[in-house]
Amino acid sequence: MSVIGARVPKLDAPERAGGRIRYVHDIVVPGMLHGAIRRSDRVHARILSIDVSAARALPGVRAVITANDIENRPFGHGRDNTPLKGDRVLCSRDEIAAVAADTEAIAREACRLIRVEYEDLAAVFSPEEALAPGAPVLYSHVPDNQPFHYDYAHGDLEAAVAESDEIVSDTYRLHYVTHCCMGTSGIVADFSAAGALTVHSSTQVPHMYRRDLAAIVGLPPEKVRVVQATIGGGFGSKLDIYPFEPICVWLARRSGRPVRLLFDREEEFVGSPTRQPAIFHMRSGARRDGTFTFRDVRIVLDNGGHTSWGATTPFVMMQTFSSLYRCKAVKVRADVVYTNNPYAGSFRGYGNPQATFALEAQVDALAARLGIDPIDLRLRNVQEPGEVTGQGMRFHSIAHKECLETVRERSSWTMKRGRPGEAHLRRGVGVASLLHVGGGAKMYRTDGCGTTLKLDDFGIVHVTSGSSEIGQGSDTVLAQCAAEAMGVRLEHVRVHRVDTDLGPWDVGVHASRTTFIAGNSVLMAAREAKKKLLGAASAQVRRPVERLDVTDSEIVDLETGQAVSTVGKVVRALHFRERGDVIMTSAYYEPPSQAQDEGYKGDVSATYAFGAQVAEVEVDVETGVVRLVRLTAAHDVGRAINRLGIEGQIEGGIAMGAGYALTEELKVSRGVVENPRFRDYHLVTAPEIPEIDVTFVEQGDREGPFGAKGVGEAPLIPVAAAIAAAVEDATGVRFTSLPLTPERVLAGLRERS
């Protein structure tokens, strides 16, 4: 029986639910010290002096470091961050000193005892302020405060504007939210007597991390081993290296002891990345028949005081603007602007939820002007299979149309749209679509993933993939792929965690790539192993290899249908003989995608995921309270490998999107996070989760493992846009900012009346 498409509980679910999983917080190394970081009290200031004498004198303190005590090498996407800040702080999360001590409490107390003298510098708290003439300059080598620009264009914009019958224009402003991983950031750094470093880390990109961490702390990469701890949630927050990681390594070096450094919850809110706050100034046009003509977008991103991978989110934003729908001419300009705010990193969707929010608002505005139903208008502009978009993406498989039709049907759209009612509780439905990479993203020279596979002498298949489980359930999917390809029982497959000394290379978890890329890599290794296994079995049972297959972990004679051996037996017989052998295979899968050219054009992913969602809301127009009643989703997943897993992924994405739209906001005031705790940062809770109706559109992708596409990020992307559209249907007001709190909704309603 095939395990592909089955409902398989996550393989590690009993361990997680039983409290037996060991997160980085549970790792204890003999002799280990505890680290803590002293962060800035200011948002932009020169550091005049740092006095660590009281901290050093505290009993139990084993090491105190400042920028003067370490080789403080610049790092990060903009090379504008350092582990410790010696002369200047640029945002409230900046690290000034660190302590290793016998207990975490002593380390934190010692941090409090460090005295820092500052001289405040003029600060900027929004991109507008930073771009104003005469604004304070954050980095002298970037006098305009704009470290990065992106310019994308296809088509003749002027001509497309001229042929438009309707043009809409607006500005959208998106706010700060953060990942809220249940597992806070942490690391354990441990040097051997010979000076080799082992880190237990929750990074999402262990292999690249090894090289980068080595460079930051000045070790040759061959002396660094990265062992991935079980990750308590990633969502992109563990894509970058952050200062706490090299800091912990330096503490271990200085103290000569292993050091564990963990964030507490407040520190996680203050010192881990956020989603990009983004401003979109946008115009779009259409012809009377609904054909989209052009889109002209200027994006302004608040980069914060240092640059992380978050600065590269325009890569993804522009894909949605250029290619979610057919559109003749598209121009996207993105300016990344330094401010003294916290810096944003990568976060599920990588800029796409923001871009989709803006784009789908304009599509709805055009629909209203043209008098065309929003779903009809979208259907008029979706691409066909085989089409190549203006940005050079080739849609071998695309079920966008089917997704829109499915949600129209299953949400009772036609019956519900445009009927808000008269009572104080108004109802509305709204739609939004999504496009996201579904077959990796070739951001580096390779987008590949390696796998090694070993068959042990009891028939257990050990898969060591370079890819990482961050809670998304990929280990279970990879086990299913191996089981299916080899014909062994699912419970006979074990997927091992990343250890850079043991496992093969991989780019890392991002871009919804693991099922697709690692899945294909596992399939290659598993097919090879099966071939070797059957070869060995054929010699042992003296039957031609063509007559044999593996079913349910047994070697079966295809002519008689009889089991003639078992996987374990074949392997044992291979060991216990002269000139024995092992069954171990390896594979490296490189997707057939291209890196983009200088103009950001190219078929950057091996396939693309689509979806459509309809939100149904109830708005109390007297109190401004918005309730998400129902969310109908249809996703082009290629093929569902683990139905239960993908449902969880979609439901989780919807909950996360509902929080983004309705309740979550990291309040940053004059550079300082005002609500660094779950009491004041409002995630949605069980009562806010709507009725969810999910349909998988499974047309199979020609390149995906068993036809699957990557959909890890996808379900989150359109949620906020669909909710805003539904609120508009209920109230007549299109909100251009989030979250839709009572006061924002009341103010919007008042403005209109």
Partner: protein
């Protein structure tokens, strides 16, 4: 997981009194009363309560729920939110009280949080809890959002030295119900229990005075409670209104209205009550006038203006709900 104890912490006494006299003595000596502990322990950790020790009230019992002669429902101060919500006596006697106790906080918290602790919980002002010194914090002075400006979304809207919003939903309902509290010294109306703070305290309790029970009249009439919060669970009310009323021949004969989330204590809206007496509960204009009267004098800081609208709507809805249940 051992993360090491607090550095240099002074000896800390945990006391379990055997009698209320013993408890009162210990409380007078400066021990912090501990009921469910859901707020007390947090206050200690944040340094907002300073005490040499805690006094665990649980050995004292104080959790009976009984109907006394004269139609009075008597609830022990240590009865939990969950117990009150599920008590048949409360559900039949004063349904609104059962409903509100079943809605505060989260299911886990309701299992331990007590009635007395709920009435006496400390403000949820983000400045007070967020590490700012203010008139409510030990040794502090002033009111940061009023002195320096800042986000006022969660604050009250009536002027005063402190503009925190009192967090208790239950207190608001009890004020509307005309309930009383019995302490180790006296019996007072819940309405009198809280006061406009001029320092850390927002109640009239004296040092060492403990609340032992709450008395709720089950007199004729109906009641209702309406609140708005950021989420249905695990969120304090942004604004709330409780109403108890009696009608005679289609007219409001007797009404009590209390507001929550708008001031550092639950407020009794007497002007609104006066405006409503004699009115037809179906007369929307009269209800609107009453709501306006309830909010007379409100002066929200920038960012809290929306609470005016919320409170107006909630007052009207609570009156309508109470009148509807009387009709039905």
């Amino acid at each position: 997981m051992d993360r090491g104890g607090d550095v240099r912490s002074p000896p800390f006494v945990y006391a379990r009194p055997e009698s209320s006299d013993e408890a009162a003595t210990a409380a007078r000596a400066g021990a912090l009363a501990l009921a469910g502990g859901t707020d007390a322990l947090v206050l200690l950790r944040l340094g907002l309560a300073r005490a040499q020790g805690v006094l665990d009230l649980k050995p004292l019992g104080w959790r009976e729920i009984e109907v006394k002669s004269g139609g009075v429902l008597e609830l022990g101060a240590l009865a939990t939110m969950a117990e009150i919500a599920s008590s048949a006596l409360v559900r039949e006697g004063v349904q609104t009280l059962a409903l509100v106790c079943g809605r505060v906080a989260t299911p886990q918290i309701r299992n331990v949080a007590t009635l007395g602790g709920n009435l006496l919980q400390a403000p949820r002002c983000p400045y007070y809890r967020g590490g700012f010194a203010c008139m409510r914090t030990p040794g502090g002075a002033g009111c940061p959002p009023q002195d320096q400006g800042g986000d006022a979304r969660h604050l009250g809207i009536f002027p005063g030295a402190c503009v925190a919003a009192h967090p208790s939903d239950v207190a608001v309902v009890l004020v509307a119900l005309g309930a009383g509290v019995v302490t180790t010294r006296r019996t007072i109306a819940v309405e009198e229990l809280h006061r406009a703070p001029d320092g850390p305290a927002d109640t009239i309790l004296e040092p060492g005075e403990l609340v032992t029970k709450v008395l709720v009249p089950m007199s004729a009439g109906t009641s209702a409670y309406a609140r708005v919060a950021d989420r249905a669970s695990f969120a304090f009310a942004l604004a709330a209104a409780a109403v108890r009323l009696k009608t005679r021949q289609g007219r409001i004969a007797d009404v009590r209205i209390a507001l929550g989330g708008l001031a550092p204590r639950p407020i009794r809206a007497r002007a609104a009550e006066d405006a409503l007496t004699g009115a037809d509960p179906a007369d929307r204009a009269a209800l609107d006038r009453a709501a306006d009267a309830a909010l007379d004098g409100a002066r929200p800081l920038p960012g809290a203006e929306y609470k005016l609208q919320l409170a107006r709507v909630l007052v009207v809805r609570a009156i309508e709900d109470a009148a509807r249940s009387e009709a039905g």
